[in-house]
């Protein structure tokens, strides 16, 4: 593999193949735990950890897993690492564990992770697989961070718990509520669509 190809495996997950904005994968945690920056970033990092570890293991075992049972085997591998991160977060911060709730365990069914395992890690050696997983994970973290930042700034007037606007700011409560999650994600997707369309028009013109 030449150097550009490996960098590309990492970079494509950031924007061109961003799991959230382009493929609409892993939407549940993006909407559910993005009501504050800290929750969002921890969720992103936890998912990235599971993604990288399971991609590495799937890639190592790719010649040993029979084709018929591969999905079940991948799910088992993912569930193992999710159990690890579940106990890890519980040990580091009980407060965070309570805030994220069942969504840590629900990383198992994040389609993004199974998607990378099936479409990339099961066909490539360990090096590119880890890079690909890292790129996708960082792309996911960036997306969930954007959501968290917008929702916390507008809905609570703060960023990562630090008050931004002083006591005269009237928070948009709706942004913290479930409805706000849908609105912000819809608006972000709209922005991404607009950017991509403009770029396409520039390419043709």
């Amino acid at each position: 593999m030449s150097a550009p190809a490996t960098t590309d495996a990492f970079l494509k997950g950031l924007w061109r193949e961003n799991p959230v904005f382009v493929y609409l994968l892993g939407m549940c945690p993006v909407l559910a735990v993005s009501n504050s920056v800290i929750n969002a970033v921890s969720m992103g990092l936890a998912s990235t950890f599971v993604l990288v570890m399971s991609s590495a293991l799937v890639s190592l075992l790719r010649n040993f897993i029979p084709k018929q049972v591969r999905i079940a085997a991948y799910i088992m591998i993912i569930a193992t690492f999710v159990t690890v991160i579940d106990y890890l977060i519980q040990a580091i911060s009980l407060e965070l564990y309570a805030a994220l709730g069942a969504f840590i365990q629900l990383i198992v069914v994040n389609c993004m992770i199974l998607g990378r395992a099936e479409s990339f890690a099961s066909r490539n050696p360990i090096g590119p697989s880890i890079l690909d997983a890292l790129g996708t994970g960082v792309g996911f973290t960036v997306a969930i961070f954007c959501m968290g930042a917008i929702r916390e700034i507008l809905g609570n007037g703060s960023f990562a718990g630090i008050d931004l606007f002083g006591p005269h700011f009237e928070p948009w409560i709706v942004m913290i509520l479930p409805g706000g999650g849908f609105f912000v994600l819809g608006a972000l997707l709209l922005g991404v669509n607009a950017l991509n369309q403009r770029r396409k028009a520039a390419d043709h013109g």
């Binding site: 909407l31 559910a32 799910i75 159990t83 069914v109 709706v174 409805g179 819809g186 607009a194």
Partner: protein
Amino acid sequence: MAEQSLGFIFLSAAVVSNFVLALFLGICPFLGVSGKVATASRMGMAVTFVMLVSSTCAWGINILLGALNAEYLRLIMYIAVIASAVQLVEMIVKKFSPALFRALGIFLPLITTNCAILGVALFQTNRGYSLLQSLVFAAGAGAGFTLALVLMAGLREELELADVPGLVKGTALTLMIAGVLSMGFMGFAGLGGG
């Protein structure tokens, strides 16, 4: 939590904290299968059935793992049970109603990665529901999921006829509508104190 009445559990899972619109579980099928009312309602029924089966199994497994002192295996066992339950449903549907099997197509196996199913199993464990409570909870969650899916599909069928800018069409618009629906469902929050 044991003193909660069954009716309250059902209502709470179905509307007050609706799985799709309040807890954000099962968003993928919500966005993917909500194009037509007929498909949406069938999908809802399939998901409800899998929820009931996996909820019963999860309750049994939790007791078994508790007896063996092996709670750390819970997540792995749950996901294995759900995958087999989906496989079972697939075989039953294929055998008794090939027409329905063809209509559901790829969405049937995809129920495995529907977070709403695993969500039901995890929530009932966290809240310490009894077997009967778990079943009612699963039925309520399934009813809520079907309700959200059918509502969304109805709206999207109407939208086909509306004139919207090309840029907004598709997922962005669907998400905006989901936001409005979700705010509507917040009106139920007064019922039984959420």
